[in-house]
Every structure is written in structure tokens, then in C-alpha cells.
């Protein structure tokens, strides 16, 4: 069975939410069946049963008192659960700031002293079993961060810093999605979380501290040259090169991303070429122009260069 993602949790917070969903589904099912029985009685029941339904006490109890009690209990349960989602038992959670941008995500990893040690985009890497404190902010409009299998949903509101805790209990790749309409390409603003085994995560982090080596073969070298000449550096960072623009996603390790275009397309040379040539056809309204003036060979070179940024 392909469960909806919210009912297929992979972390403790997501499990609480899935449990809430199941409780709601169970209660609602009982209420629905009860109402159906009542309706059946009212339509086809014996005279005495129908009279019972019309009594004042029946209406006050079944129509008012029971719903008030049931809804109050459910409200209290869900409020308690919501509070749990923005707290943690771990005294030293890993800290990551995620900034909602139109229409992608900036990801900044902090060290223990609160310095940014690593900047990435559209993808979050975490170790399994570790509580992760996400500090959610926005650079422009309201976005909402949501990775259904790992935790709750929290808005990113300009001028505020909302806290959301995530944790994963198994390694894997989990998809997220902006959950607050934020303009044209909102539906194409996806996110990816990669959960590693602890030792694997340390290796990953170490590799990320060193910028990728310069392109080694002619086609990729031509792509690197084009990247510079076309002015890509005005918007994108590639550490270890002159590219230091902070407007768009950091591309230092774009070749390793699970997905491209902010969590929406697979990562291969074809997509890299297609995105550079006409990202506006793929994700209409996004802030990167289509580079329709490039020749076929130039597109190949760009794709080769971007792919080896890993």
C-alpha cells in the first residue's frame, strides 16, 4: 500500500502527528457512523425510536454536549502535541537555518558557537537519530516548511524566526514541499532531506568543507569558462572560484544534489542542460533567465561543468 506521506512517518515528531491523524480518523469514523444510524432511524425507524430522537434531552446531549466534550478533548490533545513539536529533550541539537526564498531554500549549517560553517541550497543532510533544530526564516514572502515524513509544518514569516524540530529514525531521502502559497512557482518549490548513518554524515560534512577540485577535462573546463563569461557568478556561489553571487542557490556541490530546480527534477546532465537553456519553460516565473542564446555544444559544456561540481 502506498500510504500518504503523513501516515508513513520516519521520525518521532512525524510519528506523533501520524498518531494524531489516526485518532482523528477513528473518532470521525465513529461520529460518522453514529450520525448515519441516527439518520436511518429518523427515516425508517419505528415510531417510538423516532420520537426518542425528537426529545429535547436527546438534542441537547447528542447535538450539543457530546460534540463540545469530544472537540474540547481533541483540541487539548492537538495543542499539547503542537507544543511538543517546537521543543526537544536533546540539550545539544544540531542547528540549521533555512531561509525561504522565492522559490527555493537557502540552507545554513551552524557549528556549536553559532557560526555558519556550511552554506547549501534546497537540500538538508542530517544524521539519523539526531534532533535537529531548524530555524525557519524568510527572505521575502511567507513560505511554509514541510517534510511530512520527518515532522510538522511551520510557516516562514518575514521578520520572525520560527523553530521546528526534526529527527529521523532511519536513513533515506525524504521529500518536502513549500506549503504556503508564495507566488507563481510555489507548487514547484520542493525540498529534499537526506538522512545519513552517523559515521556517513561525518564523512559527508568533512567532504563539504573542501571546495571541489577544478574541472579536469576539456568540455567541463569550457563550461567553467562559460560559467564565468556569462555572468552566472553574479547570482551563484561556487566556492573555490570567482563565483560569489548570493542571489540564487549555492552551486558549489550542485552535482551531488538529489534533485534540481529546488527539489523538482532528477539530477542528470540532460536536466542541467535543459534548465540552463530554458528554466522558464520548466518553472515559469522563477528568477533565473533562460539562456536561449547558447549553442548546443555550449549547453553540453555547461552541463558537464555543473555535473562535476561534486
Amino acid at each position: 500500500v502506498n500510504w500518504p506521506l503523513v501516515l508513513d512517518p520516519a521520525g518521532s515528531n512525524a510519528t506523533s502527528i501520524a498518531n494524531l491523524a489516526w485518532v482523528l480518523i477513528a473518532v470521525v469514523t465513529v461520529v460518522f457512523l453514529t450520525v448515519c444510524v441516527g439518520l436511518g432511524v429518523a427515516l425508517f425507524g419505528r415510531e417510538t425510536w423516532r420520537r426518542f430522537l425528537t426529545r429535547n434531552s436527546t438534542i441537547i446531549i447528542a447535538g450539543f454536549a457530546v460534540p463540545v466534550v469530544v472537540l474540547t478533548v481533541l483540541l487539548a490533545y492537538s495543542l499539547m502535541l503542537t507544543r511538543e513539536l517546537s521543543s526537544t529533550e536533546s540539550p545539544t541539537p544540531m542547528r540549521v537555518q533555512i531561509t525561504g526564498e522565492m522559490w527555493w531554500w537557502r540552507v545554513d549549517y551552524f557549528d556549536k558557537d553559532g557560526n555558519v560553517t556550511l552554506r547549501d541550497a534546497n537540500e538538508l543532510h542530517i544524521p539519523v537519530g539526531q534532533s535537529v533544530k531548524l530555524e525557519l526564516v524568510s527572505a521575502d514572502v511567507i513560505h511554509s516548511f514541510w517534510v511530512p515524513q520527518l515532522g510538522g509544518k511551520a510557516d516562514m514569516i518575514p521578520g520572525r524566526r520560527n523553530i521546528l524540530f526534526l529527527s529521523a529514525d532511519r536513513p533515506g531521502v525524504f521529500n518536502g514541499q513549500c506549503a504556503e502559497f508564495c507566488g507563481g512557482p510555489h507548487a514547484l518549490m520542493g525540498f529534499t532531506v537526506v538522512v545519513h548513518e552517523k559515521s556517513e554524515f561525518d564523512v559527508w560534512l568533512k567532504r563539504r568543507t573542501v571546495a571541489p577540485a577544478a574541472a579536469t577535462y576539456p568540455l567541463a573546463q569550457r563550461g567553467a569558462q562559460l560559467f564565468e563569461n556569462l555572468g552566472c557568478a553574479a547570482c551563484h556561489v561556487v566556492r573555490g572560484t570567482v563565483a560569489n553571487g548570493n542571489v540564487g542557490p549555492d552551486l558549489t556541490f550542485v552535482g551531488t544534489r538529489q534533485k534540481l530546480g529546488a527539489g523538482i527534477l532528477p539530477n542528470n546532465r540532460g536536466i542541467l542542460a535543459g534548465w540552463v537553456a530554458d528554466s522558464q519553460a520548466i518553472k515559469p516565473g522563477n528568477r533565473m533567465p533562460s539562456y536561449k542564446m547558447l549553442t548546443g555544444l555550449e549547453l553540453q559544456a555547461m552541463a558537464a561543468y555543473l555535473e562535476q561540481l561534486r
Binding site: 542542460a273 535543459g274 519553460a281 553540453q300
Partner: protein, 123 residues
């Protein structure tokens, strides 16, 4: 049908069944596997392809009725085997073209090739 028309619920069910059947008729089972592979690799980032609703980019040629085409990229005969090779390494045939080599499994290449060749009109 008489009974179905009288009952809105039954009528809706009949309509739903009719839709899903014609959807299935459009593609044979193996073709459908190829369509899934096309989605997995994101070929729509450059090509308009029947059966793929997004993306529908026009960087490269649209692939409507591709099975009716004689030559792949105007270079080699359009057979399943040739197409599977071309998909993985287009620059071997069109060195200056925009389509780069694309990493995929042999199975994916074969599935996509047979899907594209199934896109044809007779006559």
C-alpha cells in the same frame, strides 16, 4: 445503462470506469514502463512528449509521433536498438548538439526507446 442513468451515483461510477479504461487503452503495459522512465529521468526538461504533463520544454524537438520518424536526429535509422544507444550518448552521433550524454541504466534506455517508438499514427 437505463438504471445507471436514473441513479446519479451509479451514473458517476459508470463514467469513472469508462475514463480509466480508455486511459489504459492508450498505452500497452511495456510502453507505460517507458513512460515512467521518461518521468524518472526528466526528459520533459527539453522535449514535449505525449503522456508527460510536466515539464513540456521546447529546448529540443517535440517527440509527438516519434515512432513515425525515419531518422534519429537526422543521422541514424530510428530503431529501438539505435535509439537506446542514442539516448545514453547523443554526442556520439551529434557531437555539437545540445543533448549531452545522460546516465541511465540499459533497461531505462530500452524502455524509453520502446515507449518513444510506440508513439505513432498509422497511414
Amino acid at each position: 445503462v437505463g438504471l445507471a442513468l436514473k441513479s446519479p451515483i451509479l451514473f458517476t461510477l459508470v463514467l469513472l470506469t469508462a475514463c480509466s479504461e480508455s486511459e489504459v487503452d492508450k498505452q500497452n503495459a511495456s510502453g507505460n514502463i517507458g513512460r515512467v522512465a521518461v518521468n524518472e529521468l526528466g526528459c520533459g526538461a527539453c522535449h514535449e512528449i505525449p503522456g508527460i504533463s510536466w515539464p513540456k520544454s521546447k529546448v529540443g524537438p517535440p517527440l509527438e509521433n516519434y515512432g513515425n520518424r525515419n531518422l534519429i536526429a537526422g543521422v541514424i535509422p530510428n530503431t529501438t536498438e539505435n535509439l537506446a544507444v542514442f539516448l545514453q550518448n547523443a554526442p556520439r552521433f551529434v557531437p555539437e548538439g545540445g543533448m549531452p550524454p545522460i546516465a541511465m541504466t540499459e533497461q531505462q534506455a530500452a524502455d524509453i526507446a520502446s515507449y518513444l517508438l510506440s508513439l505513432r499514427v498509422e497511414g
